[in-house]
Assembly symmetry: C3
Homo-oligomer: 333 residues x 3
């Protein structure tokens, strides 16, 4: 899937000195694909790549700022400007406009997690105070506070919440604070209160997410992440192998996963399976046939991992029970 080159138009919030804090893209246009309208109320800025491209070229002298607010449903607001932005190729992220465009591409599901270059994203994103009256520079809070009845900060972070920018179809997110922009959530996904989805991570089909999906981790269709379960990330603390979960898997409550998992696998509630754990591999008759590092079982299917409650050993058995998601919980219309 090649979305580049891509041109997009969006609204930035700025700080009191005019520095861009965020970009809410209204539409995105890849060269050979139909336009993607992110906000239904967006007026027409052009209907094909070439008309947007000429718009883009024309805006160059104005530093790619669009000053014609007649097409914008909100009109001009304080600390806002409209910009047009182009990513010619999939290169490192250089600024806020690049970063937000790539996060929008992920959350609009135009690109899969781990498929685009996100290098430089932490350096490019400023730390923002996400308030009940919109994004603000933390330095500006004291001056802006008196403009409002009551100002409070929901989050003080480089990344915003997904739902402040994009509302995915057929998805439930019990606590919107727990899913970052840049998350890739497929239809039929339910993220419960204890669930969490980082940017560049997500679900590839209907799933029940009550645990944490770290950056870079993907969860296959019909899998269930139990309450408080952990998937090891590669940004901080974890190792360097990207974790993924296949289809029809169950990670039990408070369990943890440090290897990529195949399909139809189960991790028992409370068991943390790190890549370095030694695991007794059992046959159907519960005989130990070998002892291997968990990492050697990476991406294999039909496995059940438990900690034997008498011997304390981590064991891996053929998985007989397959996961069946509760349909009632996953019809998110």
């Amino acid at each position: 899937m090649n979305v580049f080159p891509v041109i997009a138009i969006g609204t930035c919030t700025t700080n009191l000195e005019g520095k861009i804090l965020d970009v809410r893209y209204d539409l995105m246009q890849s060269k050979d694909d139909p336009i993607v309208n992110i906000r239904s109320s967006t007026a027409s800025w052009g209907s094909d790549y070439n008309s947007l491209l000429s718009y883009y070229e024309k805006s160059k002298e104005n530093n790619y700022e669009i000053t014609d607010y007649s097409k914008h449903p909100r009109g001009k607001r304080e600390r806002e400007k409209i910009i047009i932005h182009k990513l010619e190729k999939d290169e490192s992220i250089k600024d806020v406009k690049d970063a937000y465009l790539k996060l929008h591409l992920l959350s609009k599901k135009l690109v899969k997690p781990n498929s685009i270059n996100l290098d430089g994203i932490f350096a490019a994103l400023p730390n923002v105070a996400w308030t009940n009256h919109g994004p603000m520079d933390p330095m500006d809070i004291d001056r802006l506070r008196n403009n409002y009845d009551f100002l409070y900060i929901k989050s003080l972070d480089k990344f915003p919440c997904l739902t402040d920018y994009i509302i995915p179809d057929g998805v439930r997110i019990a606590d919107a604070a727990r899913v970052r922009l840049g998350a890739y959530l497929s239809e039929g996904t339910t993220v419960m209160h204890e669930g969490f989805v980082n940017f560049n991570a997500g679900t590839l089909g209907p799933t029940m997410i009550e645990g944490r999906i770290s950056a870079g981790v993907t969860i296959g269709a019909n899998s269930d992440l139990g309450g408080g379960c952990s998937t090891m990330g590669t940004l901080s603390g974890g190792n360097e192998i990207k974790i993924s979960v296949g289809e029809d898997c169950l990670l039990g409550a408070n369990s943890g996963l440090g290897i990529p998992l195949g399909d139809r696998c189960t991790i028992e509630a409370g068991l943390y399976l790190t890549g370095g754990s030694k695991v007794q591999v059992m046959d159907q008759e519960n005989n130990v046939v070998s002892t291997v590092k968990a990492s050697e079982l990476a991406s294999k299917s039909d496995l059940l991992f438990i900690r034997n409650s008498l011997s304390g050993a981590i064991q891996c058995k053929p998985n007989k029970k397959s996961v069946v998601l509760n349909d009632q919980l996953h019809t998110n219309d």
Copy 2:
């Protein structure tokens, strides 16, 4: 406790097409009980069941909508209507009005968890965008956004937060996003930031809740759920036995529970006790007297469950230490 038949009056939010998204009931009246005023500012709609009943009958021709706003403290607002609703018997849930009335009955503690019929609730509840400007249909967000200074979504879910509808007396909830309407919270309950209470679940007395109470689970008086602990639910992932915790119990931090627990039981921090775990039962002198499945110890009192840190075996001993809640933390006035 039979609350049926019950009549209630409440305010609905609708979407832009007039479809009901939620109901905030202002009062509820069972046939033989005093009226329950949920909002103190509610004007008098009638003082006994029969006057409400005649009001109800009269409203039939108007599809049970009340158009006289003179008695309503807020007056008529956009996307709102007042309705009167009756549940004659405890049947399956057919629509949003049914669902919200049963959730209100639970959270006003007029009925206990697991005592009423909640079949059909997922199908009856629409997925709603719970915003800082009230409930909205996700489809309407783009059109409604421009009415406000700044609109954001707190939650995208079928169930709302308890405290958007009902504020229970003598209760603390550190993060309101973590308790759903339909939770049953007794006076003296403190739900900390990592605590969670689903609908049709709750506490039967003063308790410290830093862990997760799944749908259908109840916690007895003076029990303490440690940070991040898990109680297995029956909706998703778990088994089919309803979990409960008796009085004076302690679930340690990051522990988990897959069996109903009696009184004065302790689960060691970090131990996940599933129903299928084999457990060494010890006597006072620490001798193993038998090995049983955890489910066989269901509902028994005075038990301490640990994982032996040298042998790795899950063990059950007579519990000598009883839980004493910190009074200072539980005086929630």
Copy 3:
């Protein structure tokens, strides 16, 4: 560090009967130190201790309320009053003004966690409904609700969120609901969505916090608390030994800590180390050299704690791997 005596000026929110619910201090002045302006927009109330002291003495007849609103950037608002308050010595907390002044001292990092007397704080603090329109008495919600477009409750608790009062420099807090006023957060701290910091607890340098820092617990520089990890507190459930984590430590995801930790220690993901756990101490060649209670290893450095995945025993080895925080994640400007 002796900050007492200290004088401070702040804005209180009151309930409809005039009872103080909270205090937002604007400045604090210790006797021998420079003035600390918490809000940049604060007008000058005086530039040294003595001028504030005379201001304080003068206000006595007015019950320490300041009625001259000309110096206040917001002017007079409903349910607000400005007060001046003095703490002569570090005594037990008697009222809301005492409590908030001490919480401000902690979060402005003028005093370290566990260094001041916080006795009486739970009794002094009223339970407050923290709404999107400011702090309210839960009893007043129904009357105040109709003043607003849409009122909702973020939290129903004695303690507020840190960022409603103080925004620490160089800190990220992904979900502001998870850090209480009274938290001590050093520059370079990132508190992720699953992180939590109680009052009288915090970080002594740059740290990655994805787990829970209980009241009384401190985390040393360059340490990493993995997702969902637990540090035992002393307020509820835990034992009486104050937990701390030294520098360059890693607590794995879903792990737990019941002893104070030295420097360069690692707790394996998923392992809960309680003080009473028996631990096999190993040498470099992986031979068990002794078996001790975990509490005997308190505050020792360069230790790695794991649960042997075959024997189930908790083991302690010399720690060869030192933690390196991801610089990109910790440059929070």
